[in-house]
Amino acid sequence: MIRLIVTRLVLSAVLVVIASLAIFVLMSFVPGDPARTILGANATPDLVARLREQLGLDQPLPVQYGEWLAGVLHGDLGQSVLSGDPVAQLIAVRLPVTLSLLLLSTLAISVIGTVVGLGSAVRGGPLGRLLDTVSLVGLALPSYWVAIVLVALFAVAIRVFPATGYQPFVDGPVPWFLSLVLPVAALSLGGITIVAKQMRDSALDVLGRDYIRVLRASGIRERSIVFKHVLRNAALPSLTVLGITVVGALTGAVFVENVFVLPGLGSLVTQATTSHDLPVVLGVGVVFTLVVIVVNLVVDVLYGVLNPKVRVR
């Protein structure tokens, strides 16, 4: 297990470099010029050229990337082209927002998805059929649309939750939680249905196995069978799906943060992309890559915990 973690961490460094290079290359194809964005439509070409030089944009692309990478290796993610703020500082301020969103969403997806999926598998009947239908609907609804509907219902029509904004945890856990209820709901809905569906299918598969019949015939209590044997075995494929769903939620967070005006990394990278603020896009890209690596690592470790065969390998 330790070897697995160490190997993954080494590979993650390579992955970060590849991801940042991919972002850099892609951004270079995006039309537009940050100097022109900053100076506006009426700036003279001389003024634009001067600013391009100040920002280092007149350098060849490999030089620009090399300088950025050298900075990163020295712990410097560079400065925002637009605001002049250190990228690390911008990320540090916004990371708690996105992490709060992701952690609560992961919690909601895993707990609610598991409970609903397992429940429908054990109880069967209409609940199972309903879940099949709902999961399809949940998959089809984009989180952006769900977010708008949730705001219209629970923030505008019935003013239970705030429509926009984020309250830091240090201002109190209740305002923090309330500011995240609707965003988390919007971000989690699709994931809950996917995990629930996966859990139901896996649980049904396990429930049909011979050893479950043997356990029942041996007089083991049904609750014990479900939680000790069915859940543990059905959780493995669901865990894979959960990992993929959480990574997907990272993309969804970009949209959800914009709808709910959350000052997280998603809204930061949206603004940075539209204004061609490359250092910020690269910085957030690195953080997103790290989040994906950590999620995959956690899934792998949990796999090992749940399945001794994996641990042995």
């Binding site: 900053i38 605001s83 002049g84 429509a163 005006v261």
Partner: protein, 526 residues
């Protein structure tokens, strides 16, 4: 009751209690939060702005509505009221010499910057000179400045290389050159990104702000006229998403927000007050005025035929008649130089006849540059293309997805015509877009008649003489049909029930909360 069930029930009970507490707390929280609080003065004003600040340094920041980020902490020399009137701010009076080349301003006494330095003529001179060399994109609005002098402690003289009667207009709160920066800030411009150094009603509070998300300004205790300060704190939230903007202003999370025609309808039905003012004049600019790459455009009859082809009323209706007006002349209604009852109207037969007379009976093909950021879904561009098609001009739209990309493409001189909005409080200001090199004049073309009229407007003796020239400009512009005007679109703002005093007009379509005179400031509703 089996002992094993107790924890489950306790858990359920606990969850229920927490849910009730949270809901109650949410209700009270939602009820207590408002965009503007306090019955008269004090409290917090929360406003929305759609874009992030270009810079918090006034010399590098944005103009117009985006000036809110710098206008709050930096007082301007002159203040423009909602109806467009210019009144004293840091300059208590100003006057031009007889040739409109020398502007003399008297600087207010007893004013200090937030860093404690005293405001005087030397500080104003230093601030303007810093603006001119700082490298900001709006430097052209400062005018053809030759020199800035401070002949006495309270007098500043700006000398222009050519007449510039718009000088005081561009020294208002909407333009960086008018926003005066303290000497310490000028000495260390980087410090202005985290700490404001102005004499304004509020000071930027970096510790309470989140870059590109929300900007907090706290009351400046050193402000020269405390009576004019209405709030303890002003928060500017950056909300770009239209539905989020609507939600914020509808639920009272913001007291003021910019809307589009779609969200405006919803805001109105929610009982919010709307403040509107004409802002953009959309049109097609024949940037290849001399026919370098599209010879047809050199012919005035062809350009006039293009102007006659457009059904402006239909386009305004399609965009939403409440907030858009078909406009057949250079400036929007309400601006100086607008001529009532004048302007192009659709006349397809006459357009075809002009084209035939110019040697294009079967029309011609034209690639037109446009973008889909300001022209949402290219509605305006497509309407123009469709109408030109009706007189035989086949338009191929080249749509850019970003404004910088559009600007870059226009400056490449590969397009003979562009669709782009123009603004200006006078017809001469709008005309400046075409007679000066830039995005709407990439070829650097000139029209002697228009150039002369523009110069006449600059040297006109008084306001009425200027208006007369402005009207001549409007008519000469239509005659030249360099710019084919199509539609005027409004700036639309929602104002919460807790806010009063917000006004806007064609002369000032971007309301800002602050004013040196309490009569013009935004206030919490009683």
């Amino acid at each position: 009751m089996p002992a094993s069930r107790l924890p489950v029930r306790a858990l359920l009970a606990g969850v229920t209690a927490v849910a009730i507490a949270l809901t109650a707390s949410a209700c009270s929280d939602a009820a207590s939060k408002g965009g503007a609080s306090g019955s008269t003065k004090g409290g917090t004003l929360t406003t929305q702005f759609a874009g992030i600040p270009i810079s918090l340094n006034p010399a590098l920041g944005g103009s117009g509505g985006s000036a809110i980020f710098t206008a709050l902490p930096y007082d301007s020399l002159v203040y423009q009221t909602g109806d467009g009137k210019l009144i004293p701010d840091l300059a208590t009076k100003w006057s031009f010499n007889s040739t409109n080349t020398e502007l003399t301003l008297t600087i207010r006494d007893g004013v200090t910057f937030t860093d404690g330095e005293k405001l005087d003529a030397a500080a104003v001179k230093a601030s303007i000179e810093y603006f001119l060399k700082a490298g900001g994109g709006d430097v052209r609005y400062a005018g053809p400045v030759d020199s800035v002098t401070a002949p006495s402690a309270d007098t500043v003289t700006i000398t222009y290389k050519s007449p510039y009667p718009d000088g005081p207009f561009f020294l208002t709160q909407y333009w960086g050159v008018g926003q005066i920066i303290g000497p310490k800030g000028i000495a260390d411009p980087k410090s202005l990104l985290t700490k404001s150094d102005g004499t304004g009603q509020y000071a930027y509070a970096a510790s309470q702000s989140v870059t590109n998300s929300s900007y907090t300004y706290v009351k400046n205790e050193k402000y020269f006229n405390p009576d004019a300060q209405q709030y303890d704190k002003v928060v500017v939230k950056v909300i770009g998403d239209p539905s989020a903007t609507l939600s914020a202003v509808t639920t009272g999370q913001a007291s003021f927000a910019g809307l589009n025609p779609t969200t405006a309808a919803n805001a109105k039905s929610s009982g919010l007050k709307l403040v509107t003012a004409p802002f953009f004049t959309w049109g097609l600019t024949n940037v290849d005025y001399q026919g370098t790459i599209a010879p047809a455009l050199k012919n005035k009859d062809v350009r006039q035929a293009m102007a006659l082809a457009i059904d402006r009323g239909a386009l305004a209706s399609a965009l939403g008649a409440d907030y858009n007006q078909g406009n057949g002349q250079l400036g929007a209604k309400g601006t100086d130089g607008y001529v009532d009852g004048y302007g192009y109207e659709q006349d397809v037969q006459k357009a075809k006849s002009l084209l035939a007379g110019a040697g294009y009976p079967n029309g011609f093909t034209l690639t037109v540059l446009t973008e889909n950021v300001l022209d949402n879904q290219t509605t305006i561009s497509q309407a123009i293309a469709s109408d030109l098609g009706k007189v035989g001009i086949t338009v191929k739209l080249d749509v850019k997805n970003t404004v910088p990309d559009f600007i870059q493409a226009s400056l490449s001189k590969k397009y003979a015509a562009v669709i782009w909005p123009v603004i200006g409080a006078t017809s001469a200001q709008v005309l400046a877009n075409f007679i000066q090199p830039g995005v709407t004049n990439p070829f650097g073309n000139a029209d002697p008649t228009l150039t002369k009229l523009y110069a006449d407007a600059q040297s006109a003796a008084d306001a009425s003489a200027r208006t007369a020239v402005f009207e001549q400009i409007t008519k000469a512009s239509n005659d030249a049909a360099w710019f084919v005007p199509v539609v005027s679109t409004d700036n639309i703002f929602a104002v919460g029930k807790d806010l009063t005093g917000v006004t806007a007009s064609a002369l000032n379509p971007n309301p800002l909360p602050i004013a040196p005179d309490p009569a013009y400031a935004w206030k919490a509703a009683k």
